[in-house]
Point group: C2
Chain length 516, copies 2
C-alpha cells in the first residue's frame, strides 16, 4: 500500500523521473514545450491534491458538527418538564445545528465538485484553499447569530458576505487552474473544449454566491425574503437531485448518455471523500463526551477532602452516569461507524442521493451524544428519563434507517454502485442487510419496550447497549443459522449441498424469499 | 486516483474475481486449500485495513489534543500577574497536556506497529480495534486524575488497568491474526518462521502492559516508584531511539542489514499514518477556538437590547479580540500545516527520530490556540499582554523549529528518506529550506522586536500575522531572487546560462555556499 500511495501522492517526481529516462531531452516534449518557461517551473511544483483534500475533509467535518455543542451544553432544570425544555431547544439550537450541518454539507459538495476539476495543486492553490476553509469555519457562527437575532440583518449579511468571498476564492482557483492546464482533470486536459468546461464550472460555483448577493440586497428591504432565498440555497440541491433521480427512474437514463462529457460534473461525490468526511464526523462525535469528561469531571481536591473524607473512589462514583453515557455513546457511534465502514467497503460509487442519505444519517449521529447526555440528567424512573431514553432510541433508529436507505438506493442502481459480491442475491447480501437493519430493529424494539414497561426504561436501554456489540460479533453466525433454517424450510431437497458451498450455488439461493 | 484506491480498499473482491477468471477451479488453489473450510469463509470477509486505520488516526489525534482544553479554558484574573497564573498552569495543566500527548503518541506508535503486521482485517478485528480505541480515549482522564490527586493510587491504578486491557486486546488481535495467516503482512505470510514473528510482536506489544502491571503493584507499596516506571514507559522508546540513532551514526549501519528480516518491525512509522495523525491534530487544533466562539460569543438578546440599544454590531465589537485571536491561530496553524504538507510531500519514509520531532512539533502546535487566546485576555499595553505575545512567539518558534528538525534528520539519511528531487543540492532544496525556516525566523524576529519595542508588541504581532501568508505566496519568487543574486555574486561567468535551466546545471549550483 505504502509504495502505491507514494507514487500517487508525489506525482511530479514520477513525471520528473520519467523525463530523465528519455535520454534525448528534446524528444516528446510537445506538451511541456507548449507551456511557457515560467509555467514549466509551475509544473515542476505541482502536487497531488490528495492530502489537501483529506485535511479539508477533516476541517469541514468538525465544522459540520460544531453546533451540536451549544445543544449538548444546555442545562436542564430538574423541576422543569423535559418536554418544555426540549421544545425550547428544538426551536433554536437543534434547528441551528441541522441548518449548519446542511449548509456545511452543501459547501463540502461544492468543494468536491471543484476539486474533481482541479486534480493537481501547487502552493498558491493550497493557500487559496486554506483561506476558503477559514471562511467555511465562520459559517456556523453567522448561523447562530441569525437564529438568536432573526430580525437583525447583520447575521444574514455576514453569512452572505462569507459565502460570496468563498465563491470568489473558488472562482480564482478555477481561473488559476484553467490558466495552467496541467492542474486539470485529465479528461478536461485532453478535450479541446476547455473554455466550455471553464464556463460551466464557473456557473456551477457562482450560482450560490449570486443567490446570496440577492439575499443580502433583499435583507434591507424585506428580511423574510432573504430567509426564503437562503432556504432555497440549502435545500435546492437536494430537492432537485431527488426530482432528477425520480425522473430518471420513471423516464429512463437516456439523458445521461447524451451529456456524457459532463458526467463527472454531475456525479459530485467521490467515494473516498465521502468516507473521509464521514470518518471525521464519527470521530469528532464519538469523542465529544470525553472532551466534557476530561474538562469537567475531575473533582476538586478540597471537595473530596471535605465531603468524601478524602475517598476519591466515592467522589468519582458521583460521576457514574456520565461515564456510562460516554461509554454508551462511544459504543453506539463506534458500531454505527462500523456498519458504515462495511457498507462503503461494498460500494463502488456514491451517487448524490446516497450522499444525501449519508448526510442525514450523519446529522442524526451528531445528535447522539446529546441524547446520551440527556439519559443521565434526570432522576431515575422520572418521566423525563423515560423521554430521554426514547429520544435516544429515535435518534439511533433514524441514524440506522438512513444508512439502510443508502444501501437500498445503491441496490436500485446496483450494477453501477455495488460490487458484484454483494448485489441482490450475492453471497454477502443477506449478511450486509442484517448488519444494516440491526440498529434500526434494536432501537425500534427498545422504544416499544420502554412504552410498555416504562418503569424499566433505563434497564432496557442499558441491556441494549451491552447486547448490541455481542450481536455484531455473532451476526455472521446468526445470519448463517437463519439462512440454513430458511433453506431447510424452503428447499429441504438440496440440503445435502450445504457441505460444499460453491459460488454458483449461492446465486441460485432462495434469497428472494429471505428478503421479502 | 479513485480506481486505484478502490482496488486497494476492496482487495477481497479482486481476489474473488481473480478466482473466477481461473476457469478450471481446482487449479492453483494451493494456498486456499491449505486453510480449512471455515477459515475460507473468513478469508472471503477480509478487508483492507485502510479505512479502519484512518478512523483510528482521527480518534487518536483528537484524544492527543483534548487536554489542551482545560488549559485553554483557565480563567485569568485581570488583577493577577500573568507570571503567577502561568506558573500555576505550568505545574499541572500544561504538564498533563504534554504527558497525555506523549503517552497517546506512544499508544499510537504501538498501534502502527501492530497494524504493520496485521495488514488485512475482518469484522472481529475491526470490533476489537474499536474496543481498543475506546480505552485509549479514557487515558487522558486518568492522567488528569493523577495530576489532581498525585498521592492517591486510584489514578495510577485506572491508568494501568486501561493500558493492561489495551495490551490484552492487542495480544488477542495478534493471536487472532496469526491463526488466520491471510490477515498478515505478505512478508510474514511468505516466511516459514511465523512462530518467531508471533513471539517477537507479542513481546513488543506486552512490554508496556507488563511494566504497568509492576507499576500498579508498586503503587500500593511506594507510589513514587510507580510514577518513575510510568515515566520510563513514556520516554524510553524515544530515548532508546535517539541513542540507537546516534549509535548507528557513529558505528555505521552494519547491524541493520544483519536484522534485515525484522526491519519492518523496527521502522514503525508508515508515512501515510504520520500524515493522517498530523492532519487530525492540525484540524482539531485549528478549530478549537471556533468551537468556543460558536458556543460562547453569541450575545444574549436581552443584553443587546439593554446595553447596546439593540445595535448588534456594537455588541459584537466587544468580541473583536476573540475573532482576531481565532483568525490569527487559524492562519498560523493552517500555514504550519502547509509547511508540514510540503515537507512530507518530499519525504519518502518517516524514521522514528523524524516521528519523534513530528510529535514535538505537534505538541507545540496544540499549545497555539492557548497562546493566541492569551493575547487578547489582557488590557492593551500591559506587561501581561507583552508576555502573552512573547509566549505565542516562543510556541510558534518551537513548532517551526521541530519541523525544521524533521527536515535536517531526513537529510542525514537522504538516500532513504528523501526524494532525489529535494536532496542536498537538488533543485527544490533551497526552496524547501526557506519554507521551513520562515516561521522560526519570523517568530524569533518578532520576539526580538517585542523585547526592544515592548510598547508596540501587539502591533508587531498583528503585522506578523498579516505578513506571513503573503510571504508564503511570494516565497518562490523571493528564493529565486536570492538564488539569482547569490549566483551572480559567486559565479558571474555562468550568468548567461540562467535562461536555459537544465537539471544537470542545478546539481552543480553553489548550493553549499547558500546553505552554510
Amino acid at each position: 500500500m505504502g509504495e502505491n500511495d507514494e507514487s500517487e501522492i508525489i506525482e511530479h517526481h514520477d513525471d520528473e523521473e520519467m523525463e530523465k529516462t528519455r535520454t534525448p531531452r528534446y524528444h516528446a516534449h510537445s506538451f511541456l514545450e507548449s507551456v511557457a518557461s515560467s509555467e514549466k517551473d509551475g509544473y515542476s511544483s505541482t502536487q497531488s491534491s490528495h492530502r489537501l483534500l483529506a485535511y479539508s475533509d477533516a476541517l469541514i467535518s468538525i465544522i459540520a458538527t460544531v453546533m451540536i455543542l451549544p445543544v449538548a451544553h444546555t442545562k436542564f432544570q430538574d423541576n422543569e418538564e423535559l418536554k418544555q425544555s426540549i421544545q425550547a431547544l428544538l426551536t433554536t439550537k437543534v434547528a441551528v445545528y441541522l441548518m449548519t450541518f446542511l449548509i456545511v454539507t452543501v459547501a463540502w459538495a461544492a468543494h468536491i465538485r471543484l476539486f474533481q476539476v482541479i486534480k493537481r495543486i501547487d502552493d498558491t492553490l493550497a493557500l487559496l484553499n486554506l483561506a476558503c476553509m477559514m471562511l467555511i469555519t465562520v459559517l456556523p457562527y453567522t448561523f447562530s447569530l441569525m437564529a438568536t437575532f432573526p430580525s437583525n440583518t447583520l447575521g444574514i449579511l455576514l453569512f452572505c458576505a462569507c459565502v460570496m468571498v468563498i465563491g470568489l476564492i473558488q472562482a480564482t482557483i478555477v481561473l488559476y487552474g484553467f490558466s495552467r492546464p496541467f492542474f486539470l482533470n485529465d479528461q478536461i486536459q485532453m478535450s479541446g473544449n476547455q473554455a466550455y468546461y471553464k464556463r460551466h464550472i464557473l456557473e456551477v460555483i457562482m450560482r450560490v454566491p449570486i443567490m446570496c448577493l440577492f439575499a443580502s440586497i433583499f435583507s434591507f428591504i424585506y428580511i423574510q425574503l432573504s430567509y426564503i432565498i437562503l432556504a432555497i440555497v440549502i435545500f435546492l440541491p437536494y430537492i432537485s437531485q431527488c426530482l432528477k433521480w425520480i425522473w430518471n427512474k420513471a423516464i429512463g437514463e437516456s439523458k445521461i448518455s447524451q451529456h456524457f462529457n459532463l458526467l463527472f460534473l454531475h456525479e459530485p461525490l467521490s467515494k473516498e471523500r465521502v468516507e473521509a468526511f464521514s470518518d471525521g464526523v464519527y470521530a469528532i462525535v464519538a469523542t465529544l463526551l470525553i472532551l466534557d469528561i476530561c474538562k469537567d469531571n475531575v473533582p476538586d481536591p478540597s471537595v473530596v477532602k471535605e465531603e468524601f473524607n478524602d475517598k476519591l473512589l466515592a467522589a468519582l462514583q458521583e460521576y457514574g452516569p456520565e461515564y456510562l453515557a460516554y461509554f454508551g455513546s462511544f459504543v453506539t457511534i463506534g458500531l454505527l461507524w462500523f456498519v458504515h465502514h462495511s457498507l462503503f467497503l461494498h460500494v463502488t460509487k456514491a451517487t448524490r442521493l446516497m450522499g444525501l442519505f449519508n448526510t442525514f444519517s450523519l446529522a442524526f449521529v451528531g445528535g447522539l451524544p446529546l441524547a446520551y447526555h440527556l439519559t443521565h440528567e434526570f432522576p431515575r424512573g422520572s418521566l423525563n428519563e423515560l423521554e430521554a431514553v426514547q429520544i435516544s432510541c429515535v435518534i439511533i433508529f433514524f441514524a440506522g434507517l438512513f444508512q439502510l436507505a443508502i444501501w437500498v438506493t445503491a441496490l436500485f442502481t446496483q450494477h453501477e454502485t455495488l460490487h458484484p459480491y454483494v448485489r441482490y442475491g450475492g453471497r454477502e447480501h443477506a449478511f450486509m442487510l442484517a448488519k444494516l437493519s440491526l440498529y434500526p430493529c434494536v432501537a425500534l424494539g427498545s422504544f416499544a419496550f420502554t412504552c410498555i414497561l416504562s418503569r424499566f426504561s433505563t434497564s432496557i436501554f442499558h441491556m441494549m447497549e451491552i447486547g448490541v456489540p455481542f450481536a455484531f460479533i455473532l451476526l455472521r453466525l446468526l445470519v448463517r443459522v437463519v439462512l440454513a433454517a430458511l433453506r431447510w424450510l424452503f428447499c429441504p431437497v438440496r440440503n445435502d449441498l450445504d457441505s460444499v458451498p460453491v459460488e454458483e450455488e449461492d446465486s441460485q439461493l432462495p434469497i428472494n424469499d429471505i428478503v421479502t
